[in-house]
Symmetry: C2
């Protein structure tokens, strides 16, 4: 449980979206290729792709020629929105879980909530297309044998 | 590992500082009293108080009449600073740990770093004294039998 560190789930989601965004054309990308590139456990990627698909970020097709493609343009995918939707716990502090006796009379929760909003608002300034401006360079790099 | 959730260590640190700040006078507060109030494991609180003491936020004395007191005025303790100092991991995403092939060509780390800074800057607007403005009310509440 680290301050402001994304869950692995959200982290993989963002990397998957970036990877799909830098593909040339509408080429489908197999789960295996994504697993290999990012060294992600396959069962994690399956959960990530299911959720991204439910949320309308990717199209997913099965079978030998199946794979993932982006369902929206990179310029239409807001990074802050992705993080809000993928993270299931956005409360900064578990006041109720520990039954804190200060609860309701303490201002800490409100202040941390404001800080969380500042974090998400900052991410909300960016779209997936902002993350892949140097897509050509990334793609070239990914094709190098060491990373094949 | 949850997004923007403080570590338990930092969480307990902030609660301990709040609790000390609302004490009347310069009364020492025993670790046991703090443990009881917040239902904190004693070994966690020992680590928290050692670190707070190292950083100059509290004075700690041993023995039967020992305990903790604030070493600075609440108006001189910045919440953003406490969080920065208590959290030992402020990198938003472990790019190197997973040996991500996008690393150094990806802008995600920079964007998440900016979001982290926005989070900490927001916290930096507050001092401990801002969190305990209604200290009287908190103290009254803490003295009620249900929380004794």
């Amino acid at each position: 449980m680290l301050l402001m560190q994304l869950t692995r789930f959200t982290d993989f989601s963002l990397r998957t979206l970036i990877y799909l965004a830098i593909q040339p054309g509408d080429e489908k990308v197999s789960l295996q290729r994504i697993c290999d590139h990012f060294n992600m456990p396959r069962n994690h990627l399956i959960r990530v792709s299911q959720r991204l698909s439910q949320l309308g970020y990717v199209n997913s097709s099965r079978g030998q020629k199946g794979g993932l493609t982006l369902a929206r343009k990179p310029s239409e995918i807001n990074i802050g929105q992705v993080v809000r939707e993928m993270e299931n716990q956005l409360e900064p502090i578990p006041c109720e879980d520990i039954a804190c006796p200060l609860a309701s009379r303490c201002q800490l929760e409100g202040i941390l909530g404001a800080a969380r909003d500042a974090f998400l608002d900052e991410l909300g300034k960016y779209r997936l297309s902002d993350l892949t401006q140097n897509g050509e360079s990334i793609l070239h790099f990914l094709r190098q044998p060491a990373y094949a």
